[in-house]
């Protein structure tokens, strides 16, 4: 019947040649039956729900920094071939990595999805932070960098704030339960105006406690608003998503928690000066009435009040000057550093070459098109040094230079 039957070897040879024409491939799967023979070669199987792939990794190939364990999700690179003696095709692995998209990641995504559907992360359930907290509760490690960073920022911005730390382990198996107890204890104590819950930066595994469902729920269930500060700029932990407010680092959390003392001093100073201006205006308006009572007790009282107030304002202005000076010096230093780095990119260096910047005086918008100006408009022109307030006399929409 068959005119040219192939031998088993011939067929196997043909199949092998066909398979070996595949270019090198990447395959992802779960590791099973991993054995390292006494020869040093490794044999294992990659599996998923439906299929298996026999693999071999020769002794000469290096394992990249992990010890293979059953069930581990791995990524293998290699080529297809046939093991002639058994007539089985197999994957000849050149590189093997622990895969990032493992079971943990899937579990994380599933939990996240479930909590999203439950509404735990909804914007509507987030509460505003208190504007002027007196007591800040902190749940973090007693010895970590986080509490030191938080205290540093608070000491600078709002030294009057009381800080109450509830120490908690922030990594390891007991961490989630410890963090939950910390949040619950501060709630039971009941005097904190806002909580900061978090830790300094770490690897994804170090931050795992803040993805634990119990922690996420405790953050959401807290009666006191929570600022989450899990030190990781890129990824959000689930606690971050559940918190009323999220900060990228513990320092940033402390900054969000309190207003800045210098800003408040400035605000109080400004309000006080406005009060003075109003009362002076009123006194001027009432000058004739006042003259009538010139010797009366109430006028002397007013005078006294105003003089004392002047003294107070003088002090305020001195304070303000000191604070502005301090803020300004800081900014100047930062500016010098930055401008050193930026070099010719700095807008100032453009100004120094003789260009200037023009802003509308009424709303501060930059003027980039003469057509937006009308004769009579007032503009502010900034030079490398100083500025001038100018009135537009005429407008020419086409530049003479172009």
């Amino acid at each position: 019947m068959a005119e040219h039957p192939l031998t088993v070897s011939e067929l196997t040879q043909t199949v092998r040649q066909t398979l070996e024409q595949f270019p090198p491939l990447w395959v992802v799967g779960e590791l099973s039956n991993f054995t390292q023979a006494s020869s040093g070669h490794r044999y294992f199987t990659l599996v998923d729900e439906e299929s298996q792939l026999k693999c071999v990794m020769w002794r000469s190939r290096q394992l990249s920094g992990f010890s293979p364990e059953p069930g581990m999700e791995v990524l293998a690179q290699g080529t297809l071939t046939v093991y002639d003696r058994r007539g089985e095709y197999q994957f000849n692995v050149s590189q093997l990595f622990q895969s990032g998209v493992g079971q943990q990641q899937l579990a994380f995504e599933a939990l996240k999805q479930r909590l999203i559907e439950e509404g735990l992360f909804d914007e509507e359930v987030k509460r505003p932070l208190p504007e002027f907290p007196q007591i800040i509760g902190v749940v973090t490690s007693r010895t970590g960098a986080a509490i030191r960073d938080i205290l540093n920022v608070l000491r600078r911005r709002a030294p009057w704030v009381r800080v109450v730390l509830r120490p908690a382990l922030v990594q390891g198996l007991e961490a989630p339960e410890d963090i939950v107890q910390g949040i619950e204890a501060l709630n039971a104590w009941g005097k904190a105006d806002v909580l900061i819950v978090g830790r300094g930066g770490g690897s994804a595994e170090d931050l795992a406690a803040f993805n634990a469902e119990v922690v996420v729920r405790a953050v959401r269930d807290s009666a006191v608003p929570v600022i989450s500060a899990v030190g990781h700029e890129v990824d959000y932990s689930l606690s971050d998503l559940a918190a009323d407010c999220r900060a990228p680092t513990p320092s940033a959390a402390a900054e969000l928690a309190v207003p800045d003392a210098d800003d408040l001093r400035e605000l109080v100073g400004r309000l006080t000066l406005r009060a003075r201006d109003s009362i002076y205006r009123l006194l001027e308006e009432n000058e004739s009435t006042l003259a009538h009572y010139s010797d009366s007790y109430s006028l002397r009282h007013v005078e006294d009040l105003v003089f004392q107030h002047d003294q107070h304002v003088d002090e305020l202005q001195k304070d303000l000057f000191v604070h502005f000076r301090r803020a300004f010096d800081g900014k100047l230093e930062a500016y010098r550093r930055l401008s050193g780095q930026l070099g010719s990119l700095s807008p100032l260096s453009v100004l120094e070459r003789g260009f200037s910047v023009t802003q509308r005086l009424d709303d501060g918008r930059l003027v980039q098109d003469a057509g937006t100006l009308n004769p009579g408009d007032r503009v502010r022109v900034r030079f490398a040094k100083g500025e001038a307030i100018c009135q537009v006399e005429g407008v020419q929409e086409e530049s003479l230079l172009t």
């Binding site: 039971a188 109080v268 009362i279 009040l305 107070h312």
Partner: protein
């Protein structure tokens, strides 16, 4: 220790703000305006005093059995550590 609470910055600031708002409306009789001004100054002083309270207090919350809490100062421990 707990006297910090007497000086409520938020309340004092609100008082100052409302005094300024009413003074700037400008339609008040002189005597009333002066009273407001005086109240505003007091509030302003309270704000300033509050802002100058410079000492940071750091405590550790310790849970006792039976749902009561105790606070201990962190400062001493911190200093011995560093």
């Amino acid at each position: 220790m707990a006297k910090d609470k007497d000086l409520n910055f938020e309340g004092a600031l609100q008082q100052l703000e409302s005094a300024v708002d009413r003074l700037e409306e400008g339609s008040l009789p002189l005597s009333e305006a002066l009273d407001l001004f005086e109240a505003g100054l007091k509030a302003s002083n309270m704000c300033r005093t509050h802002l100058e309270q410079a000492r940071q207090r750091v405590e550790v919350l310790v849970a006792e059995s039976g749902g009561t809490f105790e606070l201990t100062d962190l400062d001493a421990e911190n200093e011995s550590e560093s």
